[in-house]
Symmetry: D2
Subunit: 456 residues, 4 copies
C-alpha cells in the first residue's frame, strides 16, 4: 500500500492480522479467484493465456495448502493477500491483474458465504444421521414404558420410543433452519467491489453459477456489509445446541444412580482421577455445556453489528472466529450425540417399575369420573383428595377401601380399581400425537416420511 | 388443587403467578377454549346444550376483557385459571367440563403459538410499510451523489438512492425470517395434554383449522416442551433490530453538524433541558439502542431452555416477558423508523460537496492504468504514491502536474485529468448491483418486484 | 423547548418518553432536587425565601407521589420534567429557577446512582437473611449423611450440612459484589451539567453529603456518560442469580421421586390443572429460570454502551428497564429462596441409604493401599479393577472374598473389610474444608463469623 | 482407569479432551504439583527422598515445556494427566504417589485461579500504562478547545484534555474491578479433593502461601464447583472492553473526513486492497469490535453454570476457552490502545473551529438571563426562541440586532454580545469536575494521585 509507509507497528499487525484464523477460508478463496479470473477474461482484462497462467498458479497454491506446505510470509495480512502474494511469486506479475474489479470486501463476504453454505449442508447431514439413529431407537423401544415428567416430577407414563421421538422432532426442525441459512448464503457478493460496484462489466451471474450460488446480491453496499447468512447459521446452531443441551441434560439425569434409567457405553464415558468407581457421562454433560458457547457466537456477531455504519468496517473481521468456533463445536456435538445415543443401554426393569407408580394414573381416575358425568374440574378435586388420603396414610391409591373411595364420590366403584389395575394408562392416551401404541406407530411413520423428505 | 392446602405462601404466589403478564394472552385463550369446547362435543364429553352455555359464557368473558372490566380474583394463578374460574361463575358448573382432555401445558403453548403467528404477520406488515417508504425515498434520491464509506472513511461516491436501497434489502430479508417464524408457529400443540396425549379422541385437525393452524404437533411430549416458534420469532426480531440499529447509527452520524447530511423532522426530534439550541436525533438513537434489548430476549429464552429436561417445566413461564418485550419494542421501532426516515430532510449540497472529494476517484485512476495494460496490483501502488504526494504537498490529485504524474508512471497522461474531472465516478460503477444510474434503475425495479411479492 | 415546535409526533412521544418506567425514580429525583436547591442558595441563585417555597413545593409533590395522586400530564416526557412542571404549578414561577446549573443528564445519572446504592444495600440484606437461614439449616443437618455428587454420579458421602454450607459460601461472595456495586454508586454525578460542568460554583461536596454519596465525580463528561455502577450491580446480580439457579436446580433434582431427598413445603409448591397427584417444585424451578433474564439485563446494558460516543446519548435511556427488571426479579428470588429452603423437609433415611452405597468408599480403599505403601496411581487402578469385578458379578465390594481381593493386590487384607464396614468415609475427610464433623464444626464457626462481619 | 476399558471412542476423545487448550495451564499445574508434593511429605505420604525425585522430575517437565519439547501422548486427556504421565516416565513409579490427596477437580480449579490472579494483575498493569499515556496526553492537550457532544450533536465546548480524562476515569475504575477479581482468585481450592475433602491432613495454609494464595477455600464442595473468580475477571473484562469500544468508536468518528479531528499514526492504520487513497483506523475499529466477544465470554460462563448441580460437572471444562479468549483479546486491546492513542495526531485548528460554533454558547446566554433574575426555565425558552430566529434567518446568534434581542427579553442588552464574543464558554464551566482550566488542573492532580495509588 504505497500511501502508507512500511512497516506497520508490531502491535497493529497483531491486532489487525486475521491470518491466524482466516486461512481456513483458503479453499473458498481459491475457488472464488478462479471464477473471478474467468470473468476478467470476459471483461477484457485478461487474455486467455493470462488466465491460463493464473489458473495454473492457483492450482499450485491449492496444492501447497493441500500438502500443508503453503509458505506464509511475515507480512501477510490476511488469507486473501497471502494467496495473491504467493500467486504473484508463482505466476509472475500477470497475477497482479487478478484483483482488478474486486476488493477484499466483496471477496471475504463471498468466501464466508461459501463457507456457510457448505456448513449449512453439513449441519443438515449430521442432523439427518442423528435422526436416523433416533428413529431406529424409537422403533426398538416403542413398547418400553417409562414415566413421563413435568417439573421433573413423575406425571404420566409414556413409551421410551415416544420420548425419543420428542428428541427426533426437535432436531428435525433444526434441519429446516440450516436449510434457510444455506439459502441465505446463496446470494453472491462478488462483483460488489469495495462498496459501490466495480468499473467493469463482469458476468456476475456466470461467476455465481460456477461457484454454486443461486443469485447475485442486488446492492453493492449491502453486499459488503451483510452478514445475515452467518447470523442465520448461528441462530440455527444456537437453537440446535439448545436442543442438544436438553437431550444431554436428560441423559445425565437418567444416568444417575437414583434414576438408573440408562448408562452410556463404556467407551463413551470417563472415570475419575481420584475415585476409582466412577463412570461419568461426560459426553452428555458436554452436549449440555456447549450450548452457551454456541449461543454466544450469535450474540457476538449481533453485538459486532450493533450500530455499525455501512458499508464495510473492520469490525466485520470479528465475524469469523465466533462462526468457526460455533461450526466446530456444533458439528462435533452432533457427531458425538449420534454415537452417544446409539450406545446408551436402557434398563427396562427400572423404567417399568418407575412407570408403574400408581399416582401416574390419577388423571385416568379423574377421566373415569368425567365419563360418569362429573365435570372435570370437580373430578380433579376428588382425585386430589384421594391422593392426599393415600399419601397421608402411606398407602397406594388402590389400597384405599371401597368405603373410603365412595366417601369421596359416589361415582367411585369397582371401575376405580380396574382403572388403577389395568396398566392401560399409556394406551389410554389415544389422541393424535399421544403415546398410545397405535398413535406411536402413526408417529413413527410420520417421522420416517419426514426424514425421507430431508435426505431425499 | 385438593392435594395441596390453601392458601399458598404470599411469596410463592408473587413468584409463581404469571397473571401480571399472561393476561395479554386472554383473547387467544378464549379462542382456544371455544375450539376445544366444540371438540369436546365430538368426543362425547359435552352435549350441544352444554357447548352452547360454555360458548355464551366465553362470549361474556371476552366482552369483559374488551371492556377492560374482567374481574380478576386474588387467587387467580394465571390467565387460564382466571378465565376458567370466571367462566364457571358465569356459566355454572358445566364450565368445569371444559378442562377435560386439556392441560395448561398444551393450552399455554397453543396460546403462545397463536400470539407468535399474529406478530410474525404484524412484523412483516410493518416491514413492508417501511420498505415501501424506503423505496419511494430511493426513487426520489436516485440521482443525489454522496460519499460511500468504508471504515467511516470516504471511499467511493454512491447515489443516496443506492444507499437507501441497501437499507431496503437488509429489511427485506427480515420479512423472510418473520415468515419462517410464522410457519413454525403453525403447528398446534393443543390436544397434547400435560405431556402424554389425552384420554379422548379429539378432532385435533378440526380444532387446528378453526384456530388458523396449518397442522397439529406430532408428539405430545415435544409439543408441551417446545418453544422453537418463539425462538424463531426472537431471532428474526434480533436480526431486524440489528439492522435498525445500523440505520439509526447512520442517521445519528449523518445528523451531526460535521456531516450535516440530514436532519430529522422537527416533530421527530427533541431538545435539551439545559441547552436551548439542541435538536437531538433521539428517535435514531433509540432505534440503535433497542437492539441489545431485543437480542437479550432471544438470549434469555435460549438460556431458560438450556439443559431443561422434558416435558413442561415451570421455567417455561419465563418465555413470555422477554417475548412480549421484544414484540413491543420491535413493532414500535419499525413504526417509528418509517416516520423517521420519511421525515428526514437531506442536504443535497452538503452531500454533493462531500462526494466531490477527488480522493474518491483513486480507484478510477487505478482502473485507468489497468485499461492501459498495467496489472491492478501495480496500478494500486502507483496511485497510492500519487495520493501520498498530493497529501504531502497539500494539493488535490488534479493539481499534480503532467511532469509529476508521468514521474509515477509513463502511462499517466491527459486521461488522468479527464478521469478526475468528469465526475463520472458513480456512473463508472456499472457492474450488476453497482451504483451507476442504469444499475440503480434495474435495482429499483427489482426492489419493487420484491416488495410486491411480499405484500401480495 | 422553544427551539422545537409543538407537538411532537405521537410515535416519537411513544418511543421517546420514559415516564412509563422512570417514574420509579421520583423519590430520588425529589431528594436530589432538595439538595440542589440548597446549593443554589449557596451559589446566589436562590434566596432563602425562594428555597423555602421550592422545598414546600417538593414536599407537596412528594406527598402526591406517596398518596399515588401525582397528576401526570400528557406531555410529561420523563419523571424529571413531570416533577419540575408540577412544582411550577404548585410553587409558582420561582420553581423555574430550580433547573439552573443542572441538566437532565447529570440529574438522571444521580437518581440512578441513588437507586443502585439503595438496591445494593437491599441485595446484601436479603442475602444476609438467606445466609442466616442456610447457616441454621446447616447446623441442624450437620450430622445427616448424603451422597456427594460429581457429574451427577454418586462420588463420596458428605454431610447435608456441608452441602448447605456450599450454598452459603457461594452467596456470601455475592454480598461482596453488591458492596462493590454500592461503592461504585457512591460517586455523585450531580453538578456535571449536560457534559461540561456548569456555570455556577455549586457546593458539590455538600450536596453529595446530603444525599448520602461518598464523593463527587471528578470529570463532568465521564459523569454523564458513566453507567458503570449499574453494570456493577447487574454483574453482581447475574452471578448471584447463577448461584440461585444452581441451588434451584439441586432442589428440583432432589425433589424428584427418584432422588426423594427433600420436598418443598406444601404452601410453597403447586399442583397441576390436569393431574391431581402433582406437587411441583415451582419455586425452585423459577429460581433456576430467573438467571438468564437477569444475565440478559447485564448484556443489554453492555450492548447499549457498545461503541457509544461520549457524553450523554439517548441510548442511555435504555439503562433503566433492564436494571429495574433485574432488581425486581433478583430481590424476589432472594426472598423466595429464603422461604423455600426454610420449608424444605429432608428425608434422612433416603439420604442415608443413598450415602451408604459402598462404591462411595472406593477412594478410601485406594487410600488404604497408599497407607500401605502403594503409589496412589497404582492403587487407583487396583480399586478400579475391584469395582469392575464387583459390578460384573453383581456384588457389593465387601462381598468379594479374601482370595479375590488378594488376587488384586497382596496388600489387601482384613483392613479392606474394615474400611468398607466402618462407615467412616465422611469422617475420613479430615482436610481443612472437608466434610468430617470436626472440620464441619470449624466451618460453621467460620460461616458464623463471616455472616457477623456482613451484618455488622 | 481400570474400571473402564480402553480405548475410548475416537469421537468421545475429541469431545472430551481438553488438552488442546488447557496445556496453557501447564506452568500453574507444575507449580501446584510442587507445593502439593511438599505437603505430602508433611502428611507422611512422601519421604524427603521421594519428594526430591518428584521435584527433579517436575523441573525436567517444566524445562520440556519451556523448550516447547514436551512430548504429548495420544491418550493424554488433559494437561494434568499429561504431566503426571510424563512425570512417571521421568521420575519413576514414585511419581504415582503425587496424586494422593488430590483430584483433578481441585487441581484444575487451583490452576485456573492462579491463572486468573496473574491476569488480573496483568490487566491492571496494562491499564496503568494506558492511564499514564492518557494522563500525559491530557496534560499536553489541556488547553485545546473542542466541541463536547451529546447525542452526537455539538453541545458545549470542552478542552480536549478534559475529554481524554473522561477516558482516564472510565479505565481507572476498571483497574478496581481487576483488583477485585484478583482478590476473588486468592482463595486456594487445592486440598478439597474431588468434592468432600481428602483423607489426609495436608497443610493447606502452607501450600497456599507457597503458591501465592491469601487463604484456603472453606468448603470442599463449593471449592470444586466455584468459578466465581473467573466470572469476576470476565465481568471486569467486559466492562473494560465496553469502555475501550467507546474510545474506539470516538476515534473512528473523529478520524472521519467530516470531523477531521484526529488521524491515527501511519504505522497504526491500514489501506485498502482496492482503493489506493484509503487510510483506515482499523485499530480503533477493532477496539470497538472486540467488546461483544469479550462480553460473550462472560455470557458463556454464566450460561454454563446455569442450573448446574454441585459439585464438579464436566460442563465446567467449558470455562477455559472463553476465559483464555477474553484474556488474550483484552490484553491485546489494552496494549494496542496505548500505542493507538499515543500516535493520534490531533488537528488543533479543526477542533477550535468546531468549538467556536456560537450555538454552543446558548446555555451561557441563558445563564446570563438567570443572573439578571429570570428563572432558568424561562430563560431557556427565550434563548430557544433566539436560536430559532437565528437559524430561520441564517445568521449567527451575534448577528441578531439589539432590537431583535430586546424583542425576546428586555433583559438582553450588550452583555448578550459580550457573552457570545468572549469565547469564555469553557472557562465559565467552573463547577468541580467542569472543563474550566482551573478545574482541569485540579482534575489532572487528582488523576495523577489516583494513578500513583494504582501503581504503588
Amino acid at each position: 500500500m504505497a500511501r502508507l509507509p512500511d512497516p506497520q507497528h508490531e502491535l497493529f499487525v497483531r491486532l489487525n492480522s486475521s491470518l491466524r484464523f482466516d486461512r481456513r477460508l483458503a479453499p473458498y478463496d481459491i475457488r472464488g479467484s478462479r471464477a473471478h479470473a474467468s470473468a476478467l477474461v470476459g471483461a477484457g482484462v485478461l487474455s486467455d493465456a493470462e488466465l491460463e497462467k493464473i489458473l495454473e498458479g492457483l492450482d499450485a497454491v491449492e496444492q501447497e495448502f493441500a500438502r500443508g506446505g503453503f509458505p506464509f510470509a511475515d507480512d501477510d495480512e490476511d488469507i486473501h493477500m497471502a494467496i495473491e502474494r504467493r500467486l504473484i511469486e508463482l505466476a509472475g506479475p500477470v497475477a497482479g491483474k487478478l484483483h482488478t474489479g474486486r476488493s477484499r470486501n466483496d471477496q471475504v463476504a463471498t468466501d464466508l458465504a461459501m463457507f456457510v453454505a457448505d456448513h449449512a449442508v453439513r449441519g443438515s447431514e449430521l442432523i439427518a444421521a442423528l435422526l436416523e439413529r433416533l428413529l431406529a431407537l424409537a422403533e426398538r423401544y416403542a413398547g418400553w414404558a417409562m414415566p413421563g415428567y413435568t417439573h421433573l416430577q413423575r406425571a404420566q407414563p409414556v413409551y421410551l420410543g415416544h420420548h425419543l421421538l420428542a428428541w427426533f422432532w426437535m432436531l428435525r426442525r433444526d434441519a429446516g433452519r440450516f436449510a434457510a441459512a444455506g439459502a441465505a448464503a446463496g446470494e453472491m457478493p462478488l462483483g460488489s467491489g469495495a462498496l459501490a460496484g466495480v468499473n467493469w462489466e463482469l458476468d456476475r451471474a456466470g461467476v455465481a453459477a460456477e461457484l454454486g450460488f443461486t443469485s447475485v446480491s442486488p446492492n453493492s453496499l449491502d453486499a459488503v456489509s451483510n452478514r445475515d447468512f452467518a447470523l442465520d447459521y448461528l441462530s440455527a446452531a444456537t437453537v440446535c445446541a439448545a436442543h442438544l443441551s436438553r437431550i444431554g441434560a436428560e441423559i445425565v439425569i437418567w444416568s444417575s444412580q437414583e434414576f438408573g434409567f440408562c448408562e452410556p457405553a463404556a467407551n463413551f464415558a470417563s472415570g475419575s482421577s481420584l475415585m476409582p468407581q466412577k463412570k461419568n457421562p461426560d459426553a452428555a454433560e458436554l452436549l449440555r455445556a456447549k450450548a452457551p458457547r454456541i449461543a454466544s457466537a450469535f450474540s457476538t456477531l449481533t453485538g459486532v453489528l450493533h450500530g455499525l455504519p455501512l458499508a464495510y468496517s473492520k469490525d466485520l473481521q470479528e465475524d469469523k472466529e465466533p462462526l468457526f468456533d460455533a461450526v466446530d463445536n456444533l458439528e462435533l456435538s452432533l457427531e458425538a450425540a449420534e454415537v452417544l445415543v446409539s450406545g446408551l443401554s436402557f434398563d427396562r426393569e427400572r423404567l417399568a417399575e418407575a412407570a408403574a407408580d400408581e399416582l401416574l394414573a390419577a388423571t385416568d381416575v379423574a377421566d373415569l369420573l368425567v365419563r360418569k358425568g362429573m365435570p372435570f374440574r370437580e373430578a380433579h378435586g376428588v382425585v386430589g383428595a384421594l391422593v392426599r388420603k393415600a399419601l397421608d396414610t402411606d398407602r397406594a391409591l388402590s389400597e384405599l377401601t371401597r368405603e373410603e373411595i365412595a366417601g369421596f364420590s359416589e361415582l367411585l366403584d369397582d371401575e376405580y380399581y380396574e382403572t388403577l389395575g389395568d396398566g392401560q394408562w399409556l394406551e389410554s392416551k389415544r389422541s393424535v400425537g399421544g403415546t398410545s401404541s397405535a398413535r406411536l406407530a402413526e408417529q413413527l411413520d410420520a417421522a420416517r416420511s419426514s426424514l425421507r423428505a430431508l435426505t431425499a
